[in-house]
């Protein structure tokens, strides 16, 4: 793996890790944007270099597709959730599992991934070299989702899990990229809409309160 790719993946993994322990919704959204920006940065730079060197149509199309993918993950999705936060509330809360236990669990997750990476290093195909990072970020994002009561933070966790797949997503055929992006934005809009409606109906940002106020 190239050093720049490693640094980008490490940065996005650290952003995901910090997201697990973040307190306010605003902070979590910012970390999500950072994670997406870092993970897509290298791919974006590659296609930019290809565009500058080659200056041909295919490189331009590839650059536009990559930029749109990156921009959608790093700016549009965070902005949609941020808009939802503005319309509801910036909740400050702690994860359901306290920080000490949470740190132990997160450390165990990281160690397991490290162990698996070392064990399977020879078997993982070259095209999937980012797989350990993808898997780690995905697991941390799911952990974030299950340890939060605030629905917007859960939605941020979902987006972080989605962003984790970016290194693979960047290699998908051009023709499906617009569909995938539109759908991901659509799901975010639907999620934020439901949170806003629920906040209006129940006056709370905790999913457990929605259940109790039936």
């Amino acid at each position: 793996m190239e050093t720049i790719v490693f640094i980008a993946l490490l940065t996005s993994t650290v952003a995901t890790l910090l997201g697990v322990f973040s307190k306010s919704t605003k902070q979590t959204i910012a970390l999500m944007a950072l994670q997406a920006a870092a993970i897509g940065f290298v791919e974006l730079m590659y296609v930019l270099v290809n565009l500058v060197l080659g200056l041909h149509m295919e490189a331009l199309v590839k650059f536009i597709a990559s930029f749109v993918e990156w921009f959608s993950a790093a700016a549009i999705s965070p902005l949609i959730i941020y808009w939802g936060m503005v319309r509801t509330a910036d909740t400050v809360d702690k994860p359901l599992i306290d920080v000490r236990r949470g740190s132990l669990i997160v450390a165990a997750i990281v160690l397991i991934h490290l162990g698996l990476w070392v064990y399977y290093y020879q078997v993982i195909p070259k095209q999937l070299e980012a797989l350990p990072f993808i898997s780690l970020m995905f697991t941390l994002s799911v952990y974030l989702m299950v340890t939060r009561r605030d629905p917007l933070k859960v939605l941020v966790g979902l987006n972080m899990a989605e962003n984790a797949l970016f290194p693979l997503l960047a290699r998908s055929p051009m023709v499906v990229v617009p569909f995938l992006l539109v759908l991901m934005i659509f799901v975010n809009i639907v999620g934020v809409f439901i949170v806003m409606e629920s906040h209006r109906d129940y006056g709370s940002m905790e999913i457990s309160d929605w259940r109790l106020s039936r």
Binding site: L165, L183, V187, S198, I207, R214
Partner: protein
């Protein structure tokens, strides 16, 4: 054979859906549209039914209709499923005329999302490309959540949010598997992948991992145990018509899952994938049957009955034999139709009496004779009582299991078949008991004045009940539509 009909099957409802949406920004069009909103939905679903039926004779003649550019394909492997989906949408859109009384969405938006939902179901069945299948899966999630949230029921917000999170995270498993397959093979066409998985095939652990991702991903969308968390909440939260439309979902998703997992099963030189399928299927059957037994809310009972049904469907397909495929498809299509019949009847009860609580109901047979008769036919069919269609689908399922297990020993076969029959008896007991609780006995609220059930609300389930009798007596009507690739 090159044909544009499979594409037209998706384009026609999309076109009507977009037309519905077109009226939204213009006030004068919206007021006009409010007079034809129900009819426009019937137009969209009816048109689709006509197109699907137009393709059936070619499929029966053994032809494969293909639109290669979009990897769409219509043949006897998906004909029954497509016809089932089209019939469910058409009949439920008739039911929708009287049952849909407004929700959070404007009528044009509601129709748009219903038709889009139908497009997703048809797309999942027709498409043979990994990416397009994922696109339809993700679109289904968004659209179905909007339809659940459409209800003004107090449960709708929480249920739809739960549904969103569980299914959206599961969709990422599907996306992951699709991307890995594409990155490693450079191919996303399932027909090509059935010929071999290339590099992936050299790594059995990766094959199993990818198959597991598909099972987890689509399993959560279907509502299989242990990914079923959203199902018991979504059924009571949705409107009766939306519940009817949702009956098409297992047809599309379970057949799509089978289509996705089959190349991996062939590539792996062991029964690991079959064991995964069996495990999830058996857990769903047991959990669904036991949980349904203890329910007092009839919608929750139906939610758990559905989970049990999904388990049976998966179990038949998990055999990966020709008879298993036929049995599975018959079970899926018949199960979805009968479930729709039951849900529409229960929806009528819910609309008329404003409750889903079976303890608060009773003696409705005197006030809702037609609904009671239709309900008992559909329920007996779901329970597998002869000579109804449900009996035939269960019989086929048992035959497929018997054919597969007999070479492994008579004792195992007898035990497994015995377990099947026992679970089926449990489901028969609670389904027949629900009829007794709701329709027989003393009328709990004799003073309550309830209007007659409108024709639009009893005719669609009546047609389903008629199908139950027809297919039960002449099973070839459905069997002829199913072929093995």
């Amino acid at each position: 054979m090159y044909s544009l009909l499979p594409l037209l099957c998706l384009v026609a409802p999309t076109f009507v859906a977009v037309l519905c949406l077109f009226t939204l920004p213009f006030d004068f069009l919206e007021s006009f549209y409010s007079r034809i909103e129900k009819e426009s939905l019937i137009l969209g679903t009816g048109l689709t039914l006509v197109i699907v039926m137009a393709m059936v004779p070619d499929a029966l003649a053994g032809m494969v209709l293909e639109t290669p550019l979009l990897a769409l394909r219509f043949d006897l492997t998906n004909a029954a499923g497509l016809l089932g989906v089209a019939v469910i949408f058409f009949l439920t859109s008739i039911y929708n005329i009287k049952s849909e009384t407004g929700g959070r969405l404007k009528p044009s938006m509601y129709n748009f999302f219903v038709l889009l939902f139908q497009v997703c179901m048809l797309g999942l069945l027709l498409s043979f490309d990994l990416f397009y299948i994922f696109v339809f899966v993700e679109l289904t999630i968004g659209v179905s959540i909007v339809l659940v949230a459409h209800s003004r029921n107090r449960l709708a917000s929480e249920s739809s949010y739960k549904y969103l999170i569980i299914t959206a995270i599961s969709a990422l498993f599907v996306l992951f598997a699709v991307l890995v397959v594409y990155v490693l093979t450079g191919n996303s066409n399932l027909l090509a992948l059935e010929g071999g998985l290339g590099v992936i095939q050299e790594n059995p652990q990766l094959v199993a991992l990818l198959a597991a991702c598909f099972i987890i991903g689509l399993g959560a969308d279907i509502g299989l145990v242990p990914f079923h968390g959203w199902v018991p909440d979504v059924f009571p939260a949705s409107t009766p018509a939306v519940n009817g439309f949702f009956c098409a979902e297992p047809i599309a998703f379970i057949l799509a899952l089978y289509k996705l997992v089959k190349p991996f099963h062939h590539a792996l030189d062991s029964n690991l994938i079959m064991v995964m399928y069996l495990g999830v299927g058996a857990a769903s059957i047991l959990f669904g049957a036991l949980m349904a037994f203890s329910q007092r809310d009839f919608m929750r009972m139906m939610a758990y009955t559905s989970i049990e049904g999904f388990g049976h469907m998966l179990l038949a397909l998990s055999l990966f034999t020709p008879l298993g495929f036929v049995a599975g498809t018959v079970y899926i299509v018949n199960g979805a139709l009968m479930k729709m019949g039951v849900l529409l009847c229960l929806g009528s009860v819910s609309i008329m009496y404003g409750t889903n609580d079976m303890d608060a109901l009773g003696g409705l047979v005197r006030r809702m004779r037609k609904v009671a008769l239709i309900y008992v036919v559909c329920v007996l069919s779901v329970a597998g009582v002869p000579p109804l269609s449900g009996f035939y689908s269960k019989w086929l399922l048992l035959s497929a299991v018997n054919e597969y297990l007999l070479p492994h020993g008579t004792m195992v076969t007898v035990l497994v078949l015995g377990a099947f029959v026992s679970v089926s008896m449990v489901s028969a007991v609670y389904l027949i008991r629900s009829f007794q609780w709701i329709f027989l006995g003393r009328d709990r609220d004799e003073q309550k004045i309830v209007s007659r059930v409108p024709w639009a609300m009893w005719l669609p389930p009546a047609l389903v009940a008629l199908l139950a009798v027809l297919i039960g007596l002449q099973p070839w009507l459905l069997l002829n539509l199913i072929g093995v690739s």
